[in-house]
Amino acid sequence: MADPAHSVAKLDGVKKSFGAVHALDGVDFSVRSGECIGLVGHNGAGKSTLMSILAGTGSPDEGLIAINGAPQAAWTIQRARALGLRCVFQELSLCPNLSVAENTRVSHAALNGWGGARRAADLIRTSLDEIFPGHGISPQDIVGDLAIGQRQMVEVARAFTVTDDPLHLVILDEPTSSLDAQTARQLLAHVRRAVAKGISCILISHILGEIIETSDRVVVMRDGMVVADAAAKGLTRETLVAAMGGAHLRDKTVRSDHKDAQPLVVAVPGTIGLQARRGEIIGLAGLAGHGQTRMLMQVFDAAGRQGGVVQVSSAVALVAGDRQTDGIFPLWSIAKNISVRSLGALRRGVFISAEAEAAMAVDWREKIGIRTDDLNNNILSLSGGNQQKALFARALGSDAQIILMDDPMRGVDVGTKLDVYDLIRAEAQRGRTFLWYTTETEELDNCDRVYVFRNGQIVAALDHSELTEERILQSSFAEGAA
């Protein structure tokens, strides 16, 4: 079992910020040999950032990393691997064009020589057989042809293969998210077996039952800090949920009643349907990646189409959350980034009116408070928060009556957030409808109604009056919807 003297990995006072956001605010974290640590927390708690630093993919602004007691100066993935750390992250690190055996071979330099192909195949087959009996995966299968669950199995099995490099610690980030119940059980059973053999595991999961059953110790994070660190025995889901909470919802403001008109958006992804009326602010909550973005995209695609699972009866505009991939046009000015959704409206005859475009930019700089002296500067000259404001201006300045927001405040500073909340509420008063996916519980306070998502379904519909953080957390972590 756990050897109290032997510390496999130790992080001391780790701090990491991304711009204005403190992802990690002084975290101490240690793993001993032969123990399984469960790492839990709500969105934005800092779990992924912490693990990326431990794995060597990210570097801390402050803090120390010690492996087997020895402090590490230059910490890289290669070094981590050489010292016995492996990770299974959610973005798969398999080459889809190679077979399962080949993917194993390229990750072990020792398999390079003659006969390496057979040894690689044997190695991965043994590992798969050991962890997932009855898996039905052949080492010759091409990874790209496998289902996502099978790819996950291969990733996990590969992480447990050993040739030259030692194996001391395996980080598993949401490993069961794409596995079915039986396979997930097999994986967790293997974790216990590995731990008994002296290998340590860090298990990140939102399935609290799994965490409590499989871990020796549970670490709870919130807002970039460790708020609880206790033996798993004796913990219950309720105590964990309570430990994760802490956001304060403001006093309930009086909301106007919009139950008059026909709903503008109707979607029925499961037993509980979603409806949004004119002037309503609808929140989409739950753990990140549980179907909220997909819902928004379905609404986006359904606008202007008749019938279907999702019905939308007005023009929509989207505020992207992932600025780089979904929102920003990096070669353009701030003004051009704002106007791009409204090009039709800015036309005078055949041409886009330069005056109208400039006026729109100036108008919105006022309204939403973009901090810049020249709207013709490149968009990237703005701070992250101000870039996000420009994306808001783009959507709000358009003719769309329905505004979709894909977790747009992630990583944005408090000042910007408050400015934007005020603007959203004002626009809603004027009759605009908002569908707002957010991973920050406090923001839900602005909403008339909140739908909590879990595993792609809506599991709860909470009116503003029923909105408490506990209810949201409970629904987010509810089990039985697997």
């Binding site: 690190s93 080459c95 190679l98 390229v106 039905g136 790209g144 042809d145 039986q182």
Partner: protein
């Protein structure tokens, strides 16, 4: 997943994959059947020797193109490069072999250098190889302003070997396909090279040098380009600067026909060789036998490409 469930889930995927792998062979069989039906005498030792005469250089150029396509790049200069090699072969390699060898080795070095340049400066290979196509073309014209030169005897002798039972071009094609297949698809480093095309980040994180993969692949393209040029001159016995110009488009078509994909690192050396042979057969022999007027014979390449890609798209939609 239970064994049965996994196996049945894989079944439609496997049929799709099977169809895709068989597509090149199927296409070639169809074309052979067409030829056999139209002109049975063509299916003979003599017939094949004649029809597949120029197939070897095309197959080598196709394999050359395949290497860079594996790592998500493209070589638009392979055609003029083959022409350049041809000119060198018919002049220096014949008159002053040592100089000829040095020049050809240096040319491969240039290809390797391009790979490094493209990686380090993050350049689009389309534009770089486009520029290089001018360079090779210009050098070829400088070496041989007018068609001429003569191939070294050992080369013409080798390319003219009369092998018993099976025509030399077919044997050569099989050898090329098998050698490259084993090197790229079975070796450890071959998996790394292909992996670099499938998930560059994963290969880099596993500790392999991505610079090296690019350099090696480009060097391989250069090497096979050299062999292709030499083979071509071995057959034609003399050279001219434009002799290889059609090879660029043909080589790309051959790789795609052979089941290769532009991105993702999915290529098949055997498929590429088959694709090249198919194009060689369809290019002239089949169409002549079909009495398709020569005007329309050029279109054949385009039609074949489109048909095969359409078939692939359809299979893809069914669940491949």
């Amino acid at each position: 997943m239970s064994d049965l469930a996994a196996k049945t889930a894989r079944a439609p995927r496997n049929t799709g994959r099977l169809l895709r792998t068989m597509l090149p062979a199927l296409s070639m069989t169809l074309i052979l059947l067409g030829i056999a039906w139209l002109n049975p005498r063509a299916i003979s030792y003599f017939g094949f020797s004649l029809m597949l005469n120029l197939a070897i250089p095309i197959a080598l150029a196709t394999v050359a193109q395949m290497f860079v396509i594996t790592i998500n790049e493209l070589d638009l200069s392979i055609g003029t490069f083959v022409g350049f090699v041809g000119c060198v072969t018919a002049t220096w390699l014949h008159d002053a072999p040592l100089v000829g060898v040095l020049v050809l080795v240096a040319a491969i070095g240039v290809y390797a250098g391009l790979g490094a340049l493209i990686h380090l400066r993050n350049l689009p290979s389309i534009v770089v190889t486009l520029g290089m196509s001018f360079v090779w073309q210009g050098l070829a014209i400088l070496i041989l302003p007018k068609p001429g030169g003569s191939a070294p005897e050992w080369l013409t002798g080798f390319m003219g070997i009369k092998t018993p039972f099976v025509p030399f071009p077919i044997i050569a094609a099989v050898v090329i396909a098998l050698v490259v297949h084993f090197a790229l698809m079975r070796s450890a480093y071959g998996a790394v090279l292909r992996g670099a095309g499938g998930n560059q980040q994963a290969i880099g994180r596993a500790g392999w040098s991505l610079l090296k993969t690019k350099v090696i692949m480009f060097a391989l393209t250069g090497t096979f380009g050299v062999i292709s040029g030499m083979a071509l001159i071995g057959i034609t016995t003399s050279a001219d600067a434009n002799i290889g110009n059609g090879y660029t488009l043909l080589s790309i078509a051959g790789v795609i026909l052979g089941g290769g994909e532009f991105v993702g690192g999915r290529v098949s050396p055997i498929g590429a060789v088959i694709g090249a042979l198919t194009l060689a057969l369809a290019a002239s022999p089949l169409l002549t036998f079909m009495n398709i007027p020569p005007d329309w014979q050029v279109a054949a390449n385009g039609v074949i490409l489109i048909t095969v890609l359409a078939a692939r798209a359809l299979i893809g939609r069914k669940g491949g």
